[in-house]
Symmetry: C2
Subunit: 192 residues, 2 copies
Amino acid sequence: MARTAAPGSRERILRTAGELFYRHGVRAVGMNQVIDAAGCGKNLLYRHFPSKDDLVAAYLRACRRERDRSSAQATAALADDPAARLRALVAEVAATATRPDFRGCAFRLYLAEFPGHEGEPARLARDYLRDTRAEIDELVARLDVADPGQLADRIWLIVEGLYASAARTDSGRTSAAATRLIDDLLAAALPG
Amino acid sequence: MARTAAPGSRERILRTAGELFYRHGVRAVGMNQVIDAAGCGKNLLYRHFPSKDDLVAAYLRACRRERDRSSAQATAALADDPAARLRALVAEVAATATRPDFRGCAFRLYLAEFPGHEGEPARLARDYLRDTRAEIDELVARLDVADPGQLADRIWLIVEGLYASAARTDSGRTSAAATRLIDDLLAAALPG
DNA sequence: GTCTATAAGGGGATAGAC
DNA sequence: GTCTATCCCCTTATAGAC
């Protein structure tokens, strides 16, 4: 399918749809709107994405790829230091949350829009949240702290709060508060 | 209008609509669905609520009333102790978040569903968030702490994280983490 | 008169056909 | 790319039951 079409058409449609989905919400954006914004024919879009759910799933997969890439880049130069990686993880979320077009976490926004849905988009969103939470758990488990479960719960709470709060209030202030709170929590929990 | 109608009809419709809106999302629930669930005629609903936005606004106003009532009840027997009131505020949110049908904060869910909307529902949602944030600011301002702004930011972050996280993960664990973290923050910030 | 039930208008949704 | 099919949305109007 994609081989016969213009090489960049799929990516262009997906990028256009993703921007609309993220800015206005998935439910608020219709397929016609995507077609108009992408400047393509209805045929081409439905050849690449047979249904809206397929398009939404591709959008969330692209978000995941970007987040994984961004996360890997943030921790690339770091030594194998769990505390530093935790700080970098939160700092990377804070950097994302201060981008001018930030409107929240795409996965959390999708789940808020489609509660109880069980399609592939919902699975992708839940997978991302589960994996991120697991990453925090694993990093905290490698720390020498008295109560790893509690520390992981607290860091997760802050990550969730950062995503939620920065979408609606001053994101710079929220991000600064989150990063400093994580620093304090780690400093208080770690020996020395 | 409501004076001539059966006395309980408006409240019954509103309660039915509210449950549907909260459980499935405002956009996902159509007026026909509300009418079917309430077992009323289309005429009656539109007489009480001339448009869906009016019904949604009434739903959010009911949420606000319930939250204000619940908040007042939680702090009624408390002395005029800002720290105790802050702890009670978070504990009350935690209690809400552990209810079995908890799916998130109705106001935050609405704003996630309707970004950029400027009608009365959006105003009600933003008013609630602004008032809650202001309440935290005022309580923290009355504490004898070195950096009230920072403490208020952190408490707000935890409240946001609690609402967001408890909707998707183990709410008991999330609530416990939030209340204990608030306790620790207050204990660390307060003298003595 | 108050309510229910039903039909219909005007629009936009996804999706498919040519 | 346009055109159509089908469905559901919000809303209004009409007709009938108690």
